[in-house]
Amino acid sequence: MKKTDAKISKPNGKYNLKKFILQTLIILFLTLICGLVSATFLIKDFSLFSAYQPPQGEDLNQFEEIDIKFLMDILDNDMTVLIDARDEKLYQEGHIPGALSLPVYDFENIFLKIKSKIPFDKTIITYCIDKDCPDSKLLANKLFNAGYQDIFIFKAGLKGYIKFQKGNPIIE
């Protein structure tokens, strides 16, 4: 066996690791070159050095808003799930009958606990306190990212519902 062959096939772990690191670095170097060339010359509207911006601005407005009349029409429908985006404490103080609580700022924890009550094939309606609060849109966006397709926002929120009910009790 030639000296060079013996060196290549040396079953020494340390030697192999060195070679593995070297080959990995070559692959990473080629990856870097290809990526930079692509970012510089081929891809338009893609800035590598700016932090990723989730498509919130557009996505938050993509959800259709419904009024109280539409809400009342579909509320008794089995295919609809109404979700309160506000804090759990506010939900306990009062909410629209039949609504589930899914506080948007604790989404990751609460969603795991109640996801069995929100099948993916159902129509989702989110709401918060009134037309100016952002929570219902934020929650709709999070649910959309979680895989739900059919999402509406009840823009008037709890205040709109109370106004419509003219003082009827709102806690179940």
């Binding site: 080959q23 692959i27 692509s38 891809i43 932090a51 990212n145 895989g147």
Partner: protein
């Protein structure tokens, strides 16, 4: 002297390399063509900070493509098999975490514009590819390392 058995093993290993290589090249094409859509897919996993999402969406597809090409061409065979095995392991963990979380996201594995995927099927696909790369790591000649 090369025996018939050695030839058959070589052909078998080449077929395995072809399967993994073509899979990764195919998976990288859509990602390279639509980095913004791939960045959205990565974001949907809710596992990475915004700062690394763009570099990841830009470089990862090229890494996949280069590893796929190298594997098919027989360049750095064991190294690329190890790298791809590790990559598949990370992908599987990421998908598994979102499966446990109950998120019904598009895995972004092959096409960035497909409908919501079955994450469980993606995990099975990944495990199959991990199995193949494990065979390549153990069976490919040490000389190729």
């Amino acid at each position: 002297m090369i025996t018939q058995k050695q030839t058959a093993t070589k052909i078998f290993l080449f077929c395995l390399r072809l399967i993994v290589g073509v899979t990764f090249i195919y998976a990288s094409i859509s990602k390279i063509a639509h980095p913004q859509a791939f960045a959205d897919s990565i974001y949907n996993y809710q596992l990475f900070p915004p700062l690394i999402i763009k570099p990841l969406s830009l470089f990862l597809p090229f890494f996949e493509m280069i590893c796929g090409l190298f594997l098919i061409c027989g360049i750095f065979k064991r190294s690329t098999a190890i790298l791809l095995c590790g990559l598949l392991g990370l992908f599987t963990i990421a998908i598994f975490i979102n499966l446990v979380r109950g998120l019904n996201i598009n895995c972004g594995c092959f096409s960035q514009f497909s409908d919501k995927n079955n994450l469980l099927i993606s995990i099975v696909e990944n495990l199959f590819l991990i199995f193949i790369t494990a065979i390549l790591i153990t069976k490919e000649s040490k000389k190729s390392f």
